[in-house]
Symmetry: C2
Subunit: 291 residues, 2 copies
C-alpha cells in the first residue's frame, strides 16, 4: 500500500509492505498550500505514479489534505477515538487510478466545552504502543494527547512555537537578541524560571531586564525564551494530566528540547520514530481490511 | 514649579501651584524618540518657555528621559524606595534657564534574583494614598507594585499589551479576527477561561478553534483574546501577592478592562486620577524643599 502524510507545507509518501515495513519514501515541499485549485489528483498521481505503475493499488492519506483548504473536507471525528473508529470514518478520495481514502482529523472538547482539533497527528498517535498514556508531539502547534488502552481520549494544542516566533520578532524582545546556536545552559535557566511566581506574561519581560542589566547575553536570549515558553507549556500539560511518563514523538530540533524539559520535571520520556505516521497508516489500512 | 513626564512616545508638562493644584497642562507627541541628539534642552525650552517667562524657576522631570536613550541617564534606585529616597536620588539636568532635576527609575529583584525596572511609574506610585498596598498601572507593559506604609517594596512588569499586539497581528490568530468595537461579553468569556486548566499557551489556540467551529465570531476575537491575556495576568499578580484590594491607575481604554478583571476576582478596586504624575512630581519637589 501507499501512505501519504499531506500537510500545510510538507508532503511525504511511503511505500509500505504487507508487514508494515517502509520500502521507500518521498519527502518534498509540496504542501497543500502549493496545490492549485482542482489540482490534488494530478499532484498525487505525480507523486506516486511510479509506485502505481509497479502494482500498488491502494492509497491512504492523512493530514491537512482533509481540511477545508485541502482536497476533500473530512469531518472531524469526535474523541474518544480508536483504530476501528478512525478506519470507519475514512472517506473516499476521487482518484481514478487507485482506491484512495482519507483519514479524518479529530475533535475533542474539554470539561468546559472548549474545542480543540488535529489533522494528521491522530495517525501517529494511533500507532503508539498500547500502554502509552500521555503523548507529546512538538511542532509550531504542539499537541498533547491523553490515551488509555489504545484509545485517544482527548488532547490539547499549545501555540508555543508560533508564540516564540511572534514574541522574538515582533515585540521589544527583538531588540535584545542575536542569532546564535542553541545554548543549553540558557535554555535550562528559562526552564527553571517557569515555575517561579509571576506568570508567563511577567517572565517574558525578564528576558529583557536580564539583558539590560548585563545578565543575559543577546546570543543566549532565544534559548532562554525557548526554555521559558516550553517550561510553561510542559508544566501546564503535566498539571492537567498528572502524568509521570510521556511518549515523545518527532525528530526535529524541538524534540530534544521537550525531552530536556520533561526530564527536568522528573518525567520518564520514551522517544518514538519519526516515521510513526507510516505505522499508523498501515494500522488503519489493516482495520480497513486492506492488509 | 513645572513638572514634566517625558516618555518614549509622549510628552506631558504641568504647571503646578504651591498647593499642588495643576494650573495648566501641555500634552504633545514629543517623546524622547523624536528628539534629535543633543536636542533635549532646546525641546524643553520650547515646551515650557512661556511658563519660565511667567516666572517659574524649577523643573522636575521623570520618565524615559532618564534612560540610556534619553537626555541624561539616571541610575535606577533600588527598592524599597520612598519619597525621601526618590528625592535624594534625583540628579541635575544641564538646563541653563532654570533649576532642573530628574527623578530616577526604580529597580527591584524578586526572591529568585530576577530584576525588573520602571521609569516614570515610580512618580505616580509615590503619590498614592499611604494605605495603598497593591497598585496596577495598565499599559503596553503593565506594572504591578507592592507598597507598604508609603514605601514601594517591589514590582512586576507584564508584557500583556505588547503580547496582545504580536499575537493578534503575527500568528494564525490574525486570520480569524476582524476589527470591531470592544465586546464586553466576549471579554468576560476570555476572563472566565483564564483560570481553567491548560495554561495560556493552550488557551490561545482555543481562540482559533472556537472560531473554526462557529462559536466565536471574528468580531469578538480581539475582546476574547484581551480577556484571556488580562485574566492570566491578573490571576498571576493576585496569586503572587494575595491582595484583596487594588489601586488602579490610568484613564485610557485599558483601565476599565483591568477594573472588570479585578472585580470578576472579587477584588475591591480604587481608581485614581490620570494626573497622578503631577501629584507625584509635586510631592518629590516638596521633599527636595522646593515648595
Amino acid at each position: 500500500m501507499i501512505g501519504v502524510d499531506w500537510g500545510t507545507s510538507s508532503l511525504r509518501a511511503y511505500r509500505i509492505g504487507a508487514d508494515g515495513a517502509v520500502l521507500a519514501r518521498i519527502d518534498r515541499p509540496g504542501g497543500i498550500l502549493t496545490v492549485p485549485p482542482g489540482g490534488f489528483a494530478d499532484a498525487l498521481a505525480d507523486l506516486v505514479g511510479p509506485w502505481l505503475a509497479a502494482g500498488e493499488r491502494r492509497i491512504l492519506a492523512c493530514g491537512m489534505v482533509g481540511s477545508r483548504q485541502g482536497w476533500v473536507e473530512a469531518p472531524y471525528l469526535p474523541c474518544p477515538a480508536n483504530l476501528a473508529s478512525l478506519a470507519a470514518a475514512t472517506i473516499p478520495l476521487p482518484f481514478g487510478a487507485a482506491e484512495a481514502r482519507l483519514v479524518p482529523g479529530l475533535i475533542t472538547r474539554d470539561a468546559h466545552g472548549v474545542p480543540d482539533v488535529m489533522r494528521g497527528e491522530e495517525t501517529k498517535l494511533i500507532a503508539l504502543p498500547r500502554d502509552a498514556a500521555l503523548a507529546c508531539l512538538p511542532g509550531t502547534h504542539c499537541k498533547w494527547a491523553r490515551r488509555a488502552e489504545g484509545r485517544i481520549l482527548g488532547f490539547t494544542t499549545h501555540m508555543t512555537g508560533e508564540v516564540f516566533g511572534a514574541l522574538s520578532n515582533h515585540t521589544i524582545l527583538a531588540r535584545t537578541r542575536a542569532e546564535a546556536p542553541h545554548d543549553p545552559a540558557a535554555f535550562a535557566r528559562g526552564l527553571a524560571r517557569a515555575p517561579e511566581p509571576g506568570g508567563l506574561l511577567h517572565h517574558l519581560f525578564g528576558t529583557r531586564t536580564l539583558h539590560l542589566l548585563g545578565e543575559l547575553p543577546a546570543e543566549a536570549a532565544d534559548s532562554y525564551l525557548s526554555g521559558l515558553l516550553i517550561g510553561h507549556e510542559v508544566a501546564a500539560a503535566l498539571a492537567e494530566t498528572g502524568a509521570t511518563a510521556v511518549d515523545l514523538l518527532g525528530a526535529d530540533r524541538l524534540a530534544p528540547l521537550y525531552a530536556a524539559a520533561l526530564e527536568a520535571q522528573g518525567v520518564a520520556v520514551r522517544r518514538h520514530d519519526p516515521d510513526l505516521v507510516a505505522a499508523g497508516l498501515h494500522a488503519i489500512a489493516g482495520a480497513l481490511g486492506w492488509t
